[in-house]
């Protein structure tokens, strides 16, 4: 990459031991199965996919909330996939996370001030600086006036305000990257728009990069610079948000778009297969409309497609489909 990246993920794998079902060998749940991407400084990358596709596990691995099975998470000259102890703590200061549920992620017995000051205490910011920095973070999150909001408890706040508190706590250490896992999906439409513009505003003012996780392509489209579509532990398509939506090249992206647009009554049949039993060849083939349209070519069942540059389009638009040139 020519631009400086805040994180470079290469061939990340996160496997969990599965449950033994009767008479069968113990299975391996391949939640994340070889994922690579980089996020540039000030960039918003969206990971889009269905429930259970592994997008939240990718986020958890980057935050080292789960230990990666294999792969590299390079950032600031260290590999976060393997680093431990004080080096991990230093790295964590640069990466912060926001969760889906603003009702569950805040401690109900802590005031807004106590919640937002906590990261400063943990990372040893001198006591005399803390108050100024908390109030500044509340102002960044547009919790105004900050002095008054600081004294509030979560139950006194609306869902949108709670999510702003979570954002203030995430940015108080001035991180390089904020990982946001479905931060607006539990909010009302009117609060939703406010949180999204706040995130963009903080990117512009503080240069924060985001890894934004969502199942909603329309939200990813308006917010993100680039979108990566995740299916069953793999990125199946990645590209600039505008182009990926205007000219999707992978049948799964095309299906997601059609469903999100809500035109007609077509929908993708079936459910994502279990990550403990990933189909052979292309993992999408059992649900793929293209596979059926092309009379079930054996290639799709036998060969695992890799992400390749789509020739007709801009550099950086990649798709993992054997028949990518026909998907137009």
């Amino acid at each position: 990459m020519t631009v400086e990246s805040v994180v470079e993920v290469s061939d990340l794998k996160v496997y969990f031991p599965g449950r033994r079902s009767s008479g069968q060998a113990k299975s391996l749940v391949r939640a994340v199965d070889g994922v690579s991407f980089a996020i540039a400084k000030g960039e918003i990358l969206a990971l889009v996919g269905e429930s259970g596709c592994g997008k939240s596990t990718i986020a958890a691995a980057i935050m080292r909330l789960v230990a990666p099975t294999a792969g590299r998470i390079a950032s600031g000259g260290v590999d976060l996939a393997t680093v431990n102890g004080s080096a991990l703590r230093r790295a964590r200061r640069r990466f912060q996370m926001i969760f889906q549920d603003p009702f569950g992620s805040l401690d109900p017995r802590q005031t807004v001030y106590e919640t937002v000051v906590e990261p400063l205490v943990i990372h040893g910011v001198p006591a005399e600086e803390r108050r100024t920095r908390v109030l500044e973070a509340l102002e960044f999150a547009q919790l105004l006036p900050p002095e008054r909001l600081a004294q509030r408890y979560p139950h006194e706040l609306s869902g949108g305000q709670r999510q702003r508190v979570a954002i203030a706590a995430a940015v108080v250490l001035r991180p390089d990257l904020v990982v946001a896992d479905e931060p607006v999906s539990m909010l009302d439409v009117s609060a939703r728009a406010g949180i999204l513009s706040l995130m963009v505003d903080l990117r512009d003012r503080l240069g924060i990069s985001y890894l934004f996780i969502t199942h909603d392509l329309s939200v990813a489209w308006v917010l993100a610079d680039r979108i990566a579509v995740v299916y069953l532990g793999r990125i199946v398509e990645i590209g600039s948000a505008a182009e990926l939506v205007a000219a999707p090249r992978h049948p799964y992206t095309q299906a997601l778009l059609e469903v999100t647009r809500g035109d007609g009554h077509r929908t993708l049949p079936g459910e994502t297969p279990s990550a403990a039993a990933i189909p052979t060849g292309c993992r999408f083939h059992p649900r793929c409309p293209k596979y059926r349209l092309l009379n079930e070519p054996s290639q799709c069942r036998e060969v695992d497609p890799v992400l390749t540059e789509t020739a007709t389009t801009l550099v950086g638009h990649q798709s993992a489909c054997h028949f990518v040139e026909e998907n137009q």
Binding site: E50, S51, G52, S158, G159, D188, V189, S190, A191, R192, A193, G194, L196, S197, V200, H215, D216, L217, S218, V219, W221, V222, L223, A241, A242, V245, A255, L256, L257, V259, T260, R261, G262, D263, H265, T267, L268, P269, E271
Partner: protein
């Protein structure tokens, strides 16, 4: 035939010495085989309205006005009487309903329960046969009837809830945010299912949702609520139609609500947040309830509460001084 006729319904909540009118003079009708959507932000009274139909309001709520289901008045009816009508005439699917399944019982037993309660004379084999048919109807393989809820995904659990709601062949189904907790693919599958059921079974559907896309996709008519009153109602295609040319939402609130949704068919810009909050309903409001947040308000709006009147034809009504009628 009119299935549901709500006339001048008011619901007052009493909290301590205070009283608050959450639903104020609302009139809505649903015909057999018709799908009507109720749209609005959190706190607009849409859930209260839905709960009032089968008499499920909490103890501190007092409904007045009229709710007629198949010609029978629901308001003022005894709890025993209402129990007779619930499941058999009207069923309710709650928000997050898939988490309402009992985790320790197999799903066939849970679907059987309303049949056993309401039709005690049904033979056991016939009841079991009906469970299989219901599962098939909602797209769950009857071979999974003996599964426990945790063995299903969220979307599949929601299908089971729909099967349960249909077990005693009700005429009206009220669904409160049935897809909000699901990802896009499951959302689209559940909405298609509801649409099919409504058409094929001549089921009346009252879909309560803040998601305009869900309503646009499923409903024939839409009712937009704000702060306890209906501000606009009419054919979905007219009010929420695709693209700005076809769409003629008249009320400034409906227009703002539409703008707050990202639209893949529109421009790639961050949706505009609605400024401010809905009014405090414990304080009497003289003029238009949307006055504080309205961008086109005039002096009359502060003084006189607007009533619903025709925008175009008789089907499309809006409660705004600046729309329709003689005043411009």
């Amino acid at each position: 035939m009119t299935l549901l006729e709500i006339k001048d319904l008011c619901v007052d909540y009493t909290v301590g010495a205070d009283s608050l009118r959450a639903v104020d003079q609302v009139s809505i009708s649903v015909a057999a085989g018709e799908a009507v959507g109720i749209a609005g932000e959190s706190g607009c009274g849409k859930t209260t309205l839905g709960l009032a139909v089968p008499g499920l309001l909490p103890a501190n709520a007092t409904p007045t006005g009229s709710v007629q289901l198949l010609g029978e008045e629901m308001i003022g009816r005894s709890e025993d009487d209402l129990n007779e009508l619930r499941w058999t005439k009207v069923s309710f699917i709650f928000q997050g309903a898939m988490n309402a399944l009992n985790p320790v019982h197999r799903i066939d037993r849970q679907i059987l329960e309303p049949i056993r309660t309401h039709e005690p004379n049904t033979a056991s084999t016939a009841a079991k046969e009906r469970v299989s048919q219901l599962l098939e109807l909602v797209g769950v393989s009857p071979s999974r009837a003996r599964s426990f809820p945790h063995e299903f995904s969220g979307g599949m659990r929601q299908r089971v809830m729909i099967a349960m709601a249909l077990a005693c062949r009700p005429s009206l189904l009220i669904a409160d945010e049935p897809t909000t907790a699901l990802d896009v693919i499951s959302q689209s599958q559940i909405l298609s299912l509801l649409g099919d059921l409504q058409r094929e079974q001549q089921l009346g559907l009252l879909l309560i949702s803040h998601d305009l896309a869900a309503i646009r996709r499923t409903c024939d008519r839409v009712v937009v609520m704000y702060a306890g009153v209906v501000v606009e109602t009419g054919p979905t295609a007219v009010i929420l139609g695709r693209g700005t040319e076809q769409r003629t939402a008249a009320h400034p609130y409906t227009q703002a609500l539409i703008k707050a949704h990202p639209d893949l068919a529109g421009e790639r810009v961050l949706a505009q947040a609605l400024p401010g909050h809905p009014p405090d309903l414990s304080i009497p409001i003289k003029g238009c309830r949307f006055y504080d947040r309205c961008s086109v308000r005039e002096s009359i709006c502060h003084e006189v509460a607007p009533t619903l009147r025709p925008v175009a034809g008789t089907a499309h009504l809006a409660a705004c001084h600046l729309v329709g009628g003689d005043v411009t």
